[in-house]
């Protein structure tokens, strides 16, 4: 503007970068940055807010073929069966929404919970996670380990991350590490799939209360409480 009155025809053509080129560069950078951000999020270190969260009493530990892991007070009247896959996004939503209510029911003695870890959602990861969870359950951290796996669902949960989680929860010893690395509970996890199939469970999350399968609309804190008989 200050150098007004120049004849545009005598001016040398100014080199300008067109918006198109800028946009292409932006899009490529964003794509790369996006992959980078997600890589960082999924591979970042494991940290647990509450390593000493209350852990219900173990009633049936993992290892018995075709029998899930039951925790809670042995004299609790109601039984909740949870069929979850640690790589199932809907299970993550269910756990976020309903997990605390279920923990409460267990802690108050209103219900015991049987975990049936499924391993079909992500064939590359689900079996590894189910195995690691079984290792943690055998070490007495069934609930905490499950809760943390779902809480940090965005993580890849590499074997290293699974071991780190064990360490954070105070069960990171030789036995646990070997169990995770050697897939020691794979056979038991397999037997759980068979038992689930026999019961007609083909999708996760599937929840039974006292043997009755809950409908999708009952998979809420209120729905579970009502089914257990607590208001």
């Amino acid at each position: 503007m200050s150098k007004a009155h120049q004849n545009p025809l005598t001016q040398r053509p100014r080199r300008r970068i067109s918006a198109g080129v800028v946009v292409v560069i932006i899009l490529i950078l964003v794509l790369a940055a996006g992959v980078g951000v997600q890589w960082w999020r999924t591979n970042s270190g494991v940290s647990v807010d509450n390593a000493n969260a209350p852990e219900p009493t173990m009633i049936t530990p993992p290892g018995t073929s075709g029998v899930g892991v039951t925790v809670g007070q042995p004299n609790a009247k109601a039984t909740i069966d949870l069929y979850l896959d640690f790589r199932c996004p809907h299970c993550k939503d269910f756990e976020d929404k309903t997990g605390p209510a279920i923990n409460e029911l267990v802690d108050s003695g209103a219900a015991k919970v049987t975990y049936w870890p499924m391993d079909f959602v992500n064939p590359d990861a689900s079996p590894r996670l189910a195995n690691a969870w079984a290792c943690a359950a055998a070490a007495g951290k069934a609930r905490s380990y499950s809760d943390e796996l779902f809480k940090s669902f965005e993580k890849t949960w590499t074997t290293d991350q699974l071991l780190e989680l064990g360490k954070e929860l105070g069960i990171g010893n030789q036995t646990f590490d070997t169990c995770v690395r050697d897939n020691s509970q794979a056979g038991w996890v397999d037997s759980i799939q068979g038992a689930a199939q026999q019961r007609g469970v083909t999708a996760t999350p599937t929840v039974f209360v006292n043997g009755n399968k809950l409908g999708d609309d009952q998979l809420t804190p209120e729905g579970i409480r009502a089914a257990v008989g607590v208001s």
Partner: protein, 183 residues
């Protein structure tokens, strides 16, 4: 509607009645482009954001199509949502509209092709367009709606490719030549 109709009429009449309402056209076409920009941009922005939160679900949604080799599932599942957000923002602010619309249009063509292929192969999946994705019960697929929606968005993208100039844009695109020939 009833408020606007007379205004439009009056404008076309007053401006140049003999030229078949062209000045009026010239006035509302950029507005149509503005609406197209905002709608396509907003859909892409929202769709991208909903997928960014959960990289594992996004990867699984890609895997459920059974189209890409395993090695590509992660980069696509992780990168695509960010790409959508970027294209969405560019369209909403109106910068590089033509290229952004091209990118959006190519995405829509790819989505339509992928959903059609899933449908044709008899897969039962959710498109994962707005997060989620993966297997659904065979009776719960929504392939036709998904394809129609993406088809509608594709029309907007094509429109913007041919008419990228719009009101309320950061940049008037294509740039007006200043008299000098560009190489």
């Amino acid at each position: 509607m009833t408020d606007q109709a007379p205004t439009t009429d009056r404008a076309s009449m007053a401006d140049r009645p003999s030229m078949t309402g062209r000045p009026a056209m010239a006035r509302w076409l950029p507005l149509v482009s503005t609406v197209a920009r905002l709608v396509l941009g907003a859909v892409l922005l929202v769709a991208g954001f909903l997928k960014i939160e959960d990289p594992e679900a996004s990867r699984q949604a890609v895997a459920a199509y059974e189209l890409l080799p395993k090695a590509l599932e992660q980069p696509v599942g992780w990168g695509l949502p960010f790409f959508e957000v970027a294209v969405g923002i560019l369209l909403i602010v109106g910068f590089g509209t033509r290229i952004a619309a091209l990118a959006g249009g190519v995405l829509m063509v790819l989505f339509i092709a992928a959903v059609s292929s899933a449908w044709a192969r008899g897969l039962a999946i959710d498109c994962g367009c707005f997060g989620g994705g993966g297997q659904v019960a065979p009776g719960e697929t929504k392939y036709l709606q998904e394809i129609l929606r993406d088809g509608g968005l594709l029309v907007l993208a094509v429109w913007l490719w041919f008419r990228p100039r719009s009101r309320f844009a950061l940049e008037s695109d294509p740039p007006v030549p200043t008299g000098a020939k560009t190489p």
